[in-house]
């Protein structure tokens, strides 16, 4: 089975959230069958900072579904969007 790397953008609930705490929660939210590669900060506007999370999942049923669900459930996260998806060679 091949592997897919997904880049998922997390929008914060507000500019005031604790970004480091959110990152820790992201680390704990990755399901067992997925692998966290890295988390980057992307400043948006008016103090809002998004997180870009790169995760590796199998090219298989379910896709990024479980990862998306877990990340959406983080309290400080308002919504998420998969902005890039590609196979690893």
């Amino acid at each position: 089975m091949g592997e897919v790397v997904a880049t998922i953008k997390l929008m914060p609930k507000s500019p005031e959230i604790d970004i480091n705490k959110t990152k820790e929660k992201v680390e704990r939210s990755i399901p067992d069958d997925a692998e966290l590669y890295k988390i980057e900060e992307e400043p948006i506007a008016f103090g809002l900072v998004a997180l870009k999370v790169m995760v590796i999942v199998g090219d298989a049923e379910g896709g990024t579904e479980k990862v998306e669900e877990n990340l959406s459930n983080i309290e400080e996260v308002s919504n998420i969007e998969v902005v890039d998806i590609r196979r690893l060679i």
Binding site: S14, E42, I44, F46, G47, I56, D59, V82, I85
Partner: protein, 413 residues
């Protein structure tokens, strides 16, 4: 300073095992992206590199390679090797990294297969206007010209059905494994007089920045920020937004003057396609707008559809889709349940022939033209008018049931 080359995203699609990764690997090797110094003399270079990649434990290397860029004389390309599983289709439709062209890989020993058809439909649905066809694994059919011509005909018939013009598309006989016709003409195919793969890449047209289209900014989220007020956040899909412009949000129909725009925490005078911005509009409150609404200029407002006609392809449905079915449509940032009002035609994905007028049901693998009615107001545009706003994924039972594009609509006002 040398003029910067224009950049393109190139998607690799095709049936499982037809050789997409092998072609990507060989292309990167021949363009020098995969370093050659690790290779011993006389070794089967390609096999060596592929083996090495496969056992590569260093994540960074494989991830960088998946985002690697390579140059042809005219362009700089980033390759996107597309996931094979259908569950990723939703991400590819709503995601940001739109491919500018696709390479369809078809193995000569296997021919047109189900995923070949599906990917062709998806490429069209994703708005990819340019294709290159790699007829691969020609080594397995003794580089037979007849075989190549036969497949060229089969694939031409297939792509014609979704509106590609085969006479404008390059079909290249290749062996991704041996490396034929990737960067130089192969002695194995003396009968082939067309361009090699990298020449074909240079014949592609550069993507147009959709700045000439009407402004569309689908709202991703809405914030209330102290000292600023209400701040909708989203990616500019088309058009240009300038400070001072009069904008309107649809479906709610509220609007006003753009007071400020920021990106990367910096003030902008104007924002263009691809920019992820937060902006502030005079008179628009936090409760007036929400995710899924779309901002546009007041004189070219986003279209709210009362009904729309779509071409869809059913990717996976456990039963049958009939009139009355109301799954959730994911279109830009909106998620709206829409009801199937009419099943107008069912087409054979392999030939494009209308198989049935007014079919009773649709099932997995069918392509069809259908009429839909959103259960609440929704912004969608004709694919011809604003391609970025006309495609959608249909989701039900946590699966992507179908993908499609809006080909016509009845505006709500």
């Amino acid at each position: 300073m040398a003029k910067e080359k224009e950049h393109m995203n190139l998607a690799f699609i095709g049936h499982v095992d037809h050789g997409k990764s092998t072609l990507v690997g060989h292309l990167l090797l021949q363009s020098g992206i995969i370093a050659e110094q690790q290779l011993a003399k006389g070794e089967d270079k390609f096999r060596f590199v592929m083996d090495k990649l496969q056992e590569e434990r260093e994540r960074g290397v494989t991830i960088d390679l998946a985002h690697a860029r390579f140059d042809t004389p005219k362009y700089e390309f980033t390759i996107v090797d597309c996931p094979g599983h259908r569950d990723f289709v939703k991400n590819m439709i709503t995601g940001a990294s739109q491919a500018d062209a696709a390479v369809l890989v078809v193995a000569a020993d296997d021919g047109v297969m189900p995923q070949t058809k599906e990917h062709v439909f998806l490429a069209r649905t994703l708005g990819i206007g340019q294709l290159i066809i790699s007829i691969n694994k020609l080594d397995l059919v003794k580089y037979d010209e007849e075989k190549f011509n036969q497949l060229k005909e089969d694939v031409s018939a297939l792509i014609k059905t979704v509106g590609y013009d085969p006479s404008k598309i390059d079909f290249i006989p290749m062996s991704a494994f041996v490396g034929d016709n990737i960067t130089k003409a192969s002695e194995n195919t003396p009968w082939y007089k067309g361009p090699v793969f990298t020449q074909s890449l240079d014949k592609l047209s550069a993507p147009e920045k959709p700045t000439d289209l009407p402004l569309r900014v689908p709202v991703q989220d809405v914030y209330s920020i102290t000292g600023v007020g209400t701040v909708p956040v989203g990616r500019v899909e088309t058009g240009i937004m300038k400070r001072g412009d009069e904008v309107i949000f649809e479906p709610p129909g509220v609007g006003g003057e753009v007071k400020s725009i920021e990106m990367h925490h910096e003030m902008l005078e104007m924002a263009e396609p691809g920019d992820n911005i937060g902006f502030n509009v005079r008179g628009v409150g936090k409760n007036d707008i929400r995710r899924g609404d779309v901002a546009g200029h007041t004189d070219t407002p986003p279209t709210v559809a009362k009904e729309f006609t779509a071409q869809i392809v059913v990717l996976q449905h456990p039963g049958a889709i009939t009139v009355g079915y109301t799954p959730v449509f994911h279109c830009h940032t909106a998620q709206v349940a829409c009801t199937f009002m009419e099943l107008q035609k069912k087409m054979d994905p392999a030939t494009g022939e209308v198989k049935e007028e007014n079919p009773d049901f649709l099932k997995t693998g069918d392509a069809a033209v259908v009429k839909l009615k959103p259960t609440k107001p929704m912004v969608i545009e004709r694919i011809k008018d604003i391609p970025h706003m006309g495609r959608f994924a249909i989701r039900d039972m946590a699966q992507t049931v179908a993908a499609g594009m809006c080909i016509d609509l009845v505006p709500a006002k």
